[in-house]
């Protein structure tokens, strides 16, 4: 009798647990938007990231502590470099004036095409599986999904995928299955950059006659559906030996930093 009661009790507990789990998941999926938005607000709000700032300070302190010898050497080197740079500064001033006048003459038209909104990357995917990031500007600043995100030096970071009123989620070029149409700056050959299963960036569909050299710069081509043409993407690293008629190259993305930093969103780049 006791055994039977225990069995019934175990069965009932199992049923109750299953129902409770079902309800939790049901509620979890129903309140997706408020949960997501509030999580971003709590973790991403600049005024509330005091813990983050403390982490940063601690990190810097430990970094300094463990590398004080190299820091001392660096200071010495910097002093010497500073002297050299001061000498060069005078020469460079003249060059800068010349450069800026040339820039005005040739490049203003190109840069003026883009309307840029400055933003700050506040969070990155903690699971490290998607290459997703969050920026602190959203629909209130006119941002929409599909807009391109770049660094100040026009290096492509990725595109926006989802926008809330004050935040946007973007997907970087490091996301799985990334495919970008590119053009070699040196000799205008068109090709495609793809991310392979090992996380490497491969330049594909390059004809044998293309005279591609290591360190050649690659920019987005006009064939892309997601990216504005003319953005810097990567530089060529080395040739992957093969016997096929089309060559493949290993390329290195120009955007390699994993630190949080300032970015720009090209607002007239929705596709």
């Amino acid at each position: 009798m006791m055994k039977k009661n225990k069995l019934v009790w175990n069965f009932l507990s199992g049923v109750i647990i299953i129902i409770a789990l079902f309800l939790i998941f049901k509620i979890y999926f129903l309140v997706q938007n408020p949960l997501q938005e509030n999580t971003i607000i709590i973790l991403g709000n600049e005024n509330q990231t005091i813990l983050f700032k403390t982490f940063n300070r601690l990190n810097s302190w430990f970094n300094d502590f463990f590398h004080f010898n190299s820091l001392r050497n660096q200071v010495q080197n910097l002093k010497e470099e500073n002297n050299n740079l001061l000498e060069q500064l005078v020469e460079l001033k003249n060059l800068q004036e010349e450069n800026s006048s040339l820039k005005e003459a040739f490049n203003v038209k190109q840069t003026a095409k883009w309307h840029l909104v400055p933003a700050q990357i506040i969070m990155i995917d903690p699971s490290g599986l998607t290459g997703n990031f969050w920026i602190n500007q959203g629909q209130n600043n006119g941002l929409k999904p599909g807009m391109n995100v770049v660094l100040a030096n026009q290096v492509l970071i990725g595109t926006l995928k989802e926008c809330f009123s004050n935040y946007c989620r973007g997907e970087s070029i490091f996301a799985p299955q990334t495919r970008i149409g590119v053009k070699d700056v040196a000799n205008n050959f068109l090709a495609i950059i793809e991310k392979d299963n090992q996380g490497r960036f491969i330049l594909k569909l390059v004809p044998r006659e293309a005279n591609i050299q290591p360190n050649d710069l690659l920019i987005t081509s006009t064939e892309n559906n997601n990216f504005v043409p003319g953005l810097l993407v990567a530089k060529v690293k080395s040739l992957i030996p093969s016997e096929s008629s089309l060559q493949e190259y290993l390329v290195e993305p120009l955007f390699i930093s994993n630190q949080l930093f300032s970015v720009f969103v090209i607002t007239n780049s929705v596709f």
């Binding site: 789990l21 998941f25 973790l43 982490f55 903690p126 699971s127 599986l129 998607t130 996301a175």
Partner: protein, 159 residues
């Protein structure tokens, strides 16, 4: 009560550490300290408390990761259900049991995450998931061995 507070504070610290330091633009294996911490806590804390921690982790990771909503929570739920079932057959306090249960949970987590991301998000992350599993299981075993040899008397482990 104090141990709950201490555990929760550690949970928050690991959570913030994972968000601000582990994540990066590169899709590459990472050390999932929060998962290891959750599995280690699973043996010493009640199920309801662990469920709350799982929910918090699920909400944060689902919100930030960009994978379809619910994948992280479902993976965690499957993992801890496995763990819960295994504790019915194996002893919680035994060192070897803890290794077996923990490693099985770790494996089921990465496997379920891999299958779900493959089926729902269509992202081929096989190599990265295997490396993730390998790195995190090694670290988990390391923590367990450390705990076993340093705090063996305090925790009354069965040798």
């Amino acid at each position: 009560m104090l141990r709950f507070v201490k555990n929760f504070v550690f949970f928050i610290i690991f959570c913030l550490f994972q968000i601000f330091y582990q994540g990066n633009f590169f899709v590459k294996p990472i050390i999932d300290l929060l998962l290891i911490f959750l599995i280690l806590s699973f043996f010493d804390f009640p199920t309801i408390y662990i469920t709350i921690l799982i929910l918090i982790r699920g909400i944060i990771f689902d919100s930030l990761s960009g994978l379809p909503w619910g994948i992280n929570l479902l993976s965690l739920a499957i993992t801890f259900l496995f763990g819960f079932l295994l504790t019915r057959f194996l002893e919680r306090e035994n060192f070897i049991s803890r290794i077996i249960i923990g490693e099985t949970m770790m494996g089921s987590y990465w496997l379920s995450l891999y299958l779900m991301s493959l089926l729902i998000a269509h992202q081929p992350l096989g190599v990265i998931m295997i490396l993730n599993f390998f790195i995190n299981s090694c670290l988990y075993s390391g923590f367990l061995f450390f705990n076993y040899y340093v705090f063996a008397k305090k925790n009354n482990y069965q040798r």
